[in-house]
């Protein structure tokens, strides 16, 4: 049953990821990416990670991608990016790129298949719920949680410094 949901979802995300890479217009890429995020959140649900699935939509698709869209609009980028197209001059480079990525992928999958994993544990109903993740977050992982706040603050300061209009 899960497999039946998993395969279409996996195909969907892979296709959309390819769509991000091979789309001429930045907007198109961004939209593909949003859709891919949604697909991923579906996969998370298959994995019983409900809390993360929701976060995936809220943070990634909701916040991050909106920021992307916003900047693309702000900069008024046109779909003039033909960069990925193979050009005569860069033929060897393009071939090498392809070969390298495929090699890397092959090696990674090879390692996955070489590895024997035991039987997966049976998960309780509470797995992946907000309560379970939240409890863990506020007890065992309270320090990373707090440190992440410093990270966000620093990022905020940084973004303001770089993007504010007044040139000193």
């Amino acid at each position: 049953m899960e497999l039946l949901i998993f395969y279409p979802l996996a195909a969907f995300t892979v296709l959309l990821a390819l769509g991000v890479v091979f789309n001429n217009s930045p907007i198109g890429s961004a939209v593909s990416l949003i859709a891919m995020m949604l697909g991923l959140s579906g996969i998370f649900i298959v994995l019983h990670a409900h809390f993360l699935a929701v976060l995936q939509i809220i943070i990634y698709a909701g916040a991050i991608m909106v920021l992307f869209m916003f900047v693309i609009m702000l900069l008024n980028l046109k779909g003039d990016d033909k960069a990925w197209k193979i050009r005569e001059r860069n033929l060897y480079l393009s071939i090498m790129t392809g070969v390298m990525v495929l090699l890397a992928l092959y090696k990674m999958i090879d390692k996955v298949l070489d590895t024997t994993f035991g039987e997966g544990a049976d998960v309780p109903d509470t797995f992946g719920t907000t309560v379970a993740v939240g409890t863990s977050l506020f007890t065992e992982y309270v320090l990373p949680f707090e440190i992440a706040s410093i990270l966000l603050l620093a990022a905020m300061v940084g973004a303001v410094v770089l993007a504010k209009t007044k040139v000193d």
Binding site: K111, D114, Y141, V142, L143, I147, L151, A154
Partner: protein
């Protein structure tokens, strides 16, 4: 639903992080109420760094202390590195005072970003948990992206920030993937647990874990700028404002090395044959390509960038050596490297003027006759970088090589010594320019007291660590 039991928070261990965060926010707030003169921010930042250093040092009597369920540790490594971070951040701030004034970078956030970055570095050096290491690296990186691009109107600075950012995010992907695989194959994010599990031999043969190790090498290799993940370094070093470059070459690199060491030597020592070999390859390439790259450079910042790549090669040997001596030599090397680099960048800043940074080697022609003392300092730093006894660089290298010999890596030592012989070729080039060429123009240098102070600190440190390294070595091995 059960109520959550409040976690126990070890505030004394966290003190440096807390103190610095508070001071960083204070800098942000105060900046709102002052005008264009930012000296009060400098003062606050320095006080903050001092407090952080003191609070870390005060903890030194009862180490090692592990807290937060094994996510955070205060030990020899973390305290020593915290000292290096506080010192290098303070020096970076001091270097920036006059430089920023001269180049018109009136951004108060500069100081708070350096403090935030220091927080990240301390976290990185103290983290014993993959999540914490990841967060630490990200805090440091994000601050650096911004710092590299803080001269917003300078295209070079922009470009440096963009290159660093894109490649950094790319490398983060690899790092994260590596951590994930490590977590997945061992079932824990805590280094101590991972080490235990590996020790019991349950998960050793997992090919996926080796893939994870390689990915981690890439992620860390990028952060420390090791070949072939170093290519951002020359461009970013060149484009970033000089004090930031100095900072970048020392503090964050030291932090990355601290985490590098902790993750590999303390987390997965059982996998040593694999990662030692992988790192040996990276180290040899780093030394060699760093030196090769540096030989042809005419821009002093790029030259130093490549030279730092080759130094990364030497330092990686300390990680490879993995025992106590290895970590001690790592700390000692980073400390002496900090002194040298800040000294050199101090001189570089002194030689520049508004609008003319004078970064080409030919601008150094004849410095030996016009400003003999500055040239003498520069010569000392260069010789020290090359490993001339009895300067800090030599003792540091010697110490690392000794650690490697203890682990039986004679061949690595031979390659490293050969490379340090090659490296003299370009360090000498700087000296040749200073002493054996006619000046190309009049020297109009900005000899400012605070920058000079940094140079003095550098030279004193270089000499001290070279001639009387005993006490520091004792602290490092403590």
């Amino acid at each position: 639903m059960e109520p959550i039991t409040a976690p126990i928070i070890d505030f004394t261990s966290l003190a440096p992080v807390l103190v610095l965060s508070v001071f960083a926010m204070m800098v942000l707030l105060v900046d709102l109420f002052i005008g264009r003169n930012k000296s009060v921010l400098v003062f606050i930042s320095l006080v903050g760094l001092l407090c952080a250093a003191v609070s870390a040092f005060a903890k030194g009597t009862e180490i090692p202390v592990s807290s937060f369920n094994g996510a955070y540790i205060v030990d020899r490594l973390s305290i020593f590195f915290t000292m290096i971070f506080c010192m290098s951040s303070a020096l970076a701030i001091l270097l920036a005072v006059e430089y920023n004034k001269r180049e018109g970078i009136r951004v108060g956030e500069y100081y708070s970003l350096i403090l935030f970055c220091t927080v990240g570095m301390i976290v990185l050096a103290s983290a014993t948990d993959l999540i914490m290491i990841f967060l630490g690296i990200e805090i440091v990186s994000i601050c650096l992206y911004v710092l590299a691009g803080i001269r917003r109107t300078d295209p070079k600075s922009n470009e440096a920030a963009l290159k660093y950012f894109l490649l950094g995010a790319f490398a983060t992907g690899f790092l994260l993937y590596g951590m994930t695989l490590l977590y997945g194959t061992t079932g824990s994010v805590k280094l101590a647990t991972i080490a235990q599990l590996l020790n019991s031999g349950e998960v050793l043969a997992q090919p996926l874990m080796l893939l994870g190790v390689v990915l981690l090498v890439i992620g860390f290799g990028f952060k420390v700028a090791a070949v072939p993940f170093h290519m951002w370094a020359p461009d970013v070093y060149q484009g970033a404002p000089t004090p930031v470059t100095a900072f970048m070459a020392v503090g964050p690199k030291a932090a990355a090395f601290a985490a590098f060491y902790r993750l590999f030597a303390e987390g997965i020592p059982e996998l040593a044959p694999t990662w030692q070999m992988t790192l040996s390859i990276v180290a040899v390439f780093s030394m060699f390509f760093g030196n090769l790259g540096a030989i042809m450079q005419t821009n002093i910042k790029r030259l130093l960038a490549f030279s730092s790549v080759s130094h990364v090669g030497y330092i990686l040997i300390a990680v490879i050596a993995k025992d106590t001596l290895g970590s001690a030599s790592l700390m000692f090397y980073m400390l002496s490297y900090a002194f040298m680099i800040f000294g050199i960048f101090g001189i570089i800043i002194i030689l520049g003027r508004k609008g003319h940074e004078n970064l080409e080697l030919e601008h150094y022609s004849g410095l030996g006759f016009k400003h003999p003392l500055l040239a003498l300092c520069m010569t000392m730093f260069m010789l020290s970088l090359g490993g001339m006894p009895p300067l800090a660089g030599f003792v540091a290298k010697f110490y690392i090589f000794q650690a490697a010999l203890n682990e039986g890596f004679l061949w690595l030592v031979i390659i490293a010594v050969l490379n340090s012989a090659i490296s003299f070729y370009y360090y000498l080039k700087v000296i040749v320019f200073m002493y054996m060429k006619e000046p190309i123009g009049e020297f109009k240098i900005s000899l400012t007291p605070i920058t000079l102070f940094v140079v003095a600190v550098g030279i004193i440190g270089t000499l001290e660590l070279g001639i009387f390294p005993g006490p520091i070595i004792f602290l490092a091995q403590y």
